[in-house]
Subunit: 83 residues, 2 copies
């Protein structure tokens, strides 16, 4: 596997992990006042775009990563609207 391809996989993994600690902190603290609702909404739009892009290109790593980020974004949105 080429270096750039491996780097892409590391990027997909770290990308999927990015919002895990944020969702965890929001869940534990029940405090989301400092989270921007617009960040969450644009993130949801962005991840939807990349998910469609991934599906159209049959890119499994991209589909998996963006599905994970979409679930995390929806959790952040739910926490933002309910806490």
């Amino acid at each position: 596997m080429k270096f750039r391809e491996s780097l892409g996989y590391v990027g997909v993994v770290t990308g999927s992990l990015t919002f895990v600690p944020q969702v965890y902190q929001a869940w534990v603290s029940k405090s989301v006042g400092d989270l921007s609702i617009w960040m969450i909404l644009i993130l949801l739009l962005n991840v939807s775009i990349w998910l469609i892009y991934g599906i159209m290109g049959k890119d499994k790593a991209m589909i998996l990563a963006n599905t994970i980020i979409m679930v995390l974004s929806l959790l952040m949105l739910y926490f933002k609207l309910t806490f």
Copy 2:
């Protein structure tokens, strides 16, 4: 331009914009307690990976988007550490 390629450009633009409202809110409120430091650190790692990936592939849109996100991530880190 094909639909998928156009969608990719929209993804790059919305991706660049994602953290603008969060940086703005942190700057105005001077309150960052609910932001996860680990989200910011993993985001920085992730964006560094995609920046190198973009540079290696000479992908200008990717380089631009990830440079913008890196600047926004560094601002969030600075706010998190100082506010």
